[in-house]
């Protein structure tokens, strides 16, 4: 990788002060370090959030589950609190990458990176999460702006994410056989009366599937989504999956998610 200057700030404020120009924040590093190794990214400075106190941890109060930005995927996957409040969130965290990657990768890192094939953004959007940063709060619907872009400004650092506890929910993922990222992942969350359906992997960024939400809001059952076709327009198309195939998978994964949520 290219040379850089390494920083180990003691606080979020210190980190934010360093985060300017070509500097990059380092959370778990499971994406960033790879990108740097391949010399696809060459930050001038690396600001390691790993030693900042209080950025990691899980709190659950019955209404929401709050995950600290530096909480590792493995902690979320194995957390008794998360499994009790939102089992689908624990399951999603347990599907990211592989077990070694989950031991390092973080919730905040994944969300800030907003990879179009990442899993966490689906949970954030479907569970109507609130993203808290050193500068304020964002509603999920206003956070993801497109491929690899979010509402985060310069020097803005995610500190935690609060996921609303649904009545029931499930995440189904159709993995890219090689990379294990989502070709299509669908997170369905029933809040009793209102249903949110978030789709990752299929498009340039995570999105909500309004037709499915409406149908499931009327009746939370697999058959409600089984015949809803996802539009192909604007979906990703690559050697692993065409837009047509992805669109088809959105319906299949959504139906299976509903089935799983009802189990």
């Amino acid at each position: 990788m290219h040379a850089f200057k390494y920083h180990r700030p003691a606080s979020v404020n210190d980190a934010a002060a360093l985060a300017k120009g070509e500097a990059k924040l380092l959370a778990g590093g499971q994406t960033l370090v790879q990108t740097m190794k391949l010399r696809l990214a060459s930050p001038s400075d690396i600001i390691d959030l790993g030693t900042i106190k209080d950025l990691a941890g899980i709190k659950s109060d019955g209404k929401s589950v709050t995950v600290g930005a530096m909480t590792r995927h493995a902690e979320v996957a194995h957390s008794a609190d998360v499994k009790k409040a939102i089992p689908a969130l624990a399951a999603l965290a347990g599907m990211i990458g592989d077990r070694q990657v989950r031991a390092m990768g973080t919730c905040g890192g994944s969300i800030a990176n907003n990879d179009p094939a990442a899993d966490y953004p689906a949970a954030v959007l479907a569970l109507n999460a609130t993203i808290t940063t050193n500068k304020g709060k964002y509603e999920a619907d206003k956070f993801f702006k497109g491929m690899f872009t979010t509402a985060l400004g310069a020097g803005e650092i995610i500190t935690s994410v609060s996921f609303q506890v649904p009545k029931r929910a499930a995440y189904t993922k159709f993995k890219n056989p090689a990379s294990r990222f989502a070709i299509v992942g669908v997170f369905v969350a029933d809040f009793g009366g209102s249903v949110r359906v978030a789709v990752t992997g299929a498009g340039p960024a995570v999105f909500r599937q309004a037709d499915m939400e409406k149908a499931l809001g009327a009746k939370f059952a697999p058959e409600s989504v089984a015949n809803i076709k996802q539009k192909q327009d604007g979906l990703n198309s690559d050697m692993h999956a065409s837009a047509e195939y992805r669109a088809h998978l959105v319906t299949v994964m959504a139906r299976r998610a509903v089935e799983a949520a009802l189990r």
Binding site: H2, R39, P177, A178, S179
Partner: protein, 782 residues
């Protein structure tokens, strides 16, 4: 004397070092004052190099040296040679375009070497290499083998018009056409045998080191055959005498063919080490390996089988275009010819076969032998045709095979080979039981009840291994002998060091070969060490590939053991005051016929080295013998495989539910190791059929250039295998062995694709059967 070691499940001698991190792979070697090399590689598939500007690189921190093709040409370094001459249908030699170590004026594939940059650390070498400015004039590229000869296709090499290396054929075309004319049924298929990237887990590494004191070079390299590497590098490229070069291949992390060849990097670091008078180390990263390790397969084939009304095979016609990539790799030319078309008889009495192979150059990574090498492609042709024919003629696929199996041996095929022995009904019987074929219908029903499709497919493969009788190989164009060498050095206190030219990089030779030796000498296996992988220690060696190690390398050791035992007999006769003809030997004990006199092998060995009481008039002291063994014929492992898949029609995901394999490898030295070889081979075969496939875009960029896009099977992609063996002992080597390393990769793709096409109810579909491809096939069927 303990229980027999041959045939026992002996735990591996090499495991302790690998399990404790004590293995010594080439990248684990660091030499004093070592510098690091990085190669500047072409980002274009086809381009003229107009100018190379290294001014900025030279100012980069830690920079040591840079050399380009011009420097190599000035130093009169030759190009990389091809070891097998194919003569075309017109009696002309194949076209052999120059294959320079560093590009001379033109680059022909993405990854082609342009310059070697050396610096104090590997990161600094990367920094400097990134600053080398190469001005390219980009040319149009051709990547698809079947388009290489099209009118107006970009031309790679001046000496190879129409990008054609050769058009080669085997068999009698007129007789074959006549057989088709009287056929009751003809089955025809057209398919691509997909290009694969070998992906041994250890990327290639090469460290060149020059010693001014004795004018010797040492190359540490991840190689399957260090002597061949040395021979090619000294005699053909560097113009050095062999005795001035030592090649060391220590622990090697898998090869599968990709580490047979002499690569440009090996030459470059060796030569550069003298220029800068420092050792030079190059370690490939995975991205580089995807671009530069020789790829495998890449055939486009049209094949037909003619049958009578009972499904008896009358003849076979095959036309193949083989994509060789941008240059001829070391053994590239023999893979789609000698190792392919000669296997098209399979296990069957097909009386006439004609095959024509057109080998072409394209702007892609060179293609060479990859696990199975030609034989998987042949098996795929034969077994997809046979299964399809059975379906079309409504004959049970096992039955159609049985009707055509060769049952009398030796059997001369119409495509040059003579099978010495086999029993194809026995392996078919056994696999049908192992796979519980009779219970298949109920399993299919159960799958259907879940909304899943289920399919079953067979493959009955044969391979020619124990490569190879040198006279035959020579007549077919080999530019080398294909014997093997072994040396048995008995130490004074009776322990033994064995030196073999058969390199081990996962096959477990250190154990199986030691089993053979310890068994014959009646000693604990701990007293035997097997040494391989260093030209300064080992007599000679042709290396490890083509499932040849036990059949050829093992036999060389047995021949050397025979000499040791024979000399020991003379010594024992002297010690026991008996006639040599009265001395008998069995597993470490010399006895005198009809008496209770005996001498242990250890006592005899001691006498050989402390020759106080010794037949000095008849024998030299010492007990150290070597042997070279050139096989009388190929060996012919064969087997029957049954694969059962379940397909999720909604997503196209194929799950391999059951895979049963019954192989005939002849006698087996270590069943545990043999099973492991089959498991690994099957998985690579499943990889080819289900998940793997190198893809290039139209400009020649490899779009599957990392594990993010190229999927080698993971643990979740494969089942527990059911494997078993049946034995017909090879008739022409003393161990009765045939070889087992490639079988799984040869038989699995056809079995799996037969199962998938059965499940989907389609005639054919391309490999890999990715979820999208399967889903699309189902959609198109509707």
């Amino acid at each position: 004397m303990g229980a027999p070691l041959i045939g026992a499940r002996v735990e591996r001698k090499e495991d302790y070092r690998f399990l404790t991190g004590a293995g010594q792979y080439t990248d684990d070697v660091d030499l004093p004052r070592q510098a690091y090399a990085v190669f500047v590689r072409s980002p274009h598939a086809h381009a003229v190099i107009k100018k190379i500007n290294s001014a900025k690189a030279k100012k980069s921190p830690g920079f040591v040296a840079i050399y380009t093709g011009e420097d190599f040409a000035a130093a009169k370094l030759g190009g990389l040679p091809c070891g097998w001459l194919i003569t075309d249908v017109n009696g002309q030699p194949m076209k052999e375009p120059p294959h320079p170590c560093l590009a001379q004026g033109k680059v022909r594939y993405v990854g082609d070497q342009v310059a070697i940059v050396v610096a104090e650390t590997s990161e600094q070498a990367r920094d400097a290499a990134g600053l080398v400015e190469v001005d390219y004039e980009v040319l149009p590229a051709v990547v698809d083998g079947s388009r290489a000869r099209a009118k107006g296709a970009p031309q790679l090499h001046e000496i190879a018009p129409d990008n054609t290396c050769y058009v080669w054929a085997i068999g009698d075309k007129a007789v074959t056409d006549a057989a088709f004319a009287k056929a009751a049924h003809v089955t025809k298929l057209e398919f691509i045998n997909n290009r694969l990237v070998p992906n041994a887990m250890e990327p290639r590494v090469a460290i060149g080191s020059y010693s001014r004191s004795d004018d010797n070079y040492t190359l540490y390299v991840a190689s399957q055959n260090p002597h061949v590497e040395r021979l090619l590098m000294t005699a053909f490229v560097m113009g050095l005498p062999e005795h001035k070069v030592r090649v060391v291949a220590g622990d090697v992390g898998g090869g599968f063919g990709s580490k047979i060849y002499l690569y440009a990097e090996d030459v470059a670091v060796t030569w550069t080490s003298k220029q800068i008078n420092r050792p030079v180390k190059w370690t490939s990263d995975r991205s580089e390996a995807f671009l530069t390790d020789a790829h495998g397969r890449d055939h486009h084939t049209v094949a037909e089988m003619a049958m009578d009304k009972d499904g008896k095979f009358l003849g076979m016609r095959v036309k193949t275009t083989a994509n060789l990539g941008a240059y001829l790799s070391t053994f590239a030319s023999c893979v789609p010819t000698i190792l392919y078309a000669t296997l098209l008889a399979g296990q069957y009495k097909t009386p006439v076969i004609h095959c024509e192979v057109t080998a072409v150059f394209t702007n892609t990574t060179p293609v060479d032998a990859y696990r199975g090498a030609g034989r998987p492609e042949a098996t795929y042709v034969v077994e997809r045709l046979v299964e399809t024919a059975a379906r079309e003629m409504k004959i049970d696929p096992a039955e159609i095979r049985r009707r055509n199996f060769i049952t009398e041996f030796p059997y001369q095929t119409p495509v040059a080979l003579q099978y010495d022995i086999g029993n194809y009904n026995a392996t078919m019987d056994a696999v049908q039981k192992l796979a519980d074929v009779s219970g298949y219908a109920s399993r299919k029903k159960a799958s259907e009840a879940k909304g899943r499709l289920r399919g079953l497919g067979y493959a009955a493969y044969i391979e020619a291994c124990g490569i190879a009788p040198s006279a035959v190989a020579g007549a077919l164009g080999a530019r080398a002998g294909l014997f093997e060498a072994g040396e048995v050095r008995v130490h004074p206190t009776g322990s033994v060091t064995v030196f073999t030219g058969s390199h081990s990089h996962g096959q477990g030779h250190e154990t199986t070969f030691a089993q053979v030796v310890a068994d014959r000498l009646g000693m604990p296996i701990e007293n035997v060490d097997i040494v391989h992988g260093d030209t300064s220690k080992i007599l000679f060696g042709m290396g490890t590939y083509g499932s040849r190690s036990i059949a050829v390398g093992g036999t060389a050791i047995v021949k050397a053991l025979d000499k040791v035992i024979a000399k020991g007999r003379k010594i024992a006769a002297h010690l026991m005051e008996a006639a040599e003809s009265d001395v008998e030997y069995d597993r470490g004990v010399y006895t005198v016929k009809g008496t209770d006199k005996k001498k242990m092998f250890g006592e005899v060995a001691f006498a050989a080295y402390v020759p106080h009481n010794y037949p000095h008039d008849k024998l030299e002291p010492g007990l150290n013998e070597n042997a070279f063994y050139d096989p009388a014929n190929f060996t012919f492992p064969a087997g029957s495989y049954v694969c059962e898949v379940e397909v999720d029609p909604e997503t196209g995901v194929v799950k391999v539910e059951k895979f049963s394999a019954v192989d005939d490898f002849g006698n087996i030295i270590n069943p545990m190791i043999v099973e492991g070889q089959v498991h690994g081979g099957l998985t690579q075969g499943i990889g080819q059929a289900l998940t793997e496939g190198a893809r290039y875009d139209a400009t020649g960029q490899l779009t599957t250039g990392s594990f993010m896009d190229y999927c080698i099977p993971r643990a979740t992609d494969v089942p527990f295998y059911q494997v078993d063996t049946r034995v017909t002992a090879c008739t022409h080597n003393p161990l009765g062995v045939k070889g087992c390393g490639e079988a799984g990769a040869i038989g699995a793709p056809a079995a799996l694709m037969n199962a998938i096409t059965d499940a989907l109810g389609v005639k054919d579909m391309p490999m890999p059967a990715s979820p999208q491809a399967v889903w699309t096939a189902l959609k198109n069927k509707k």
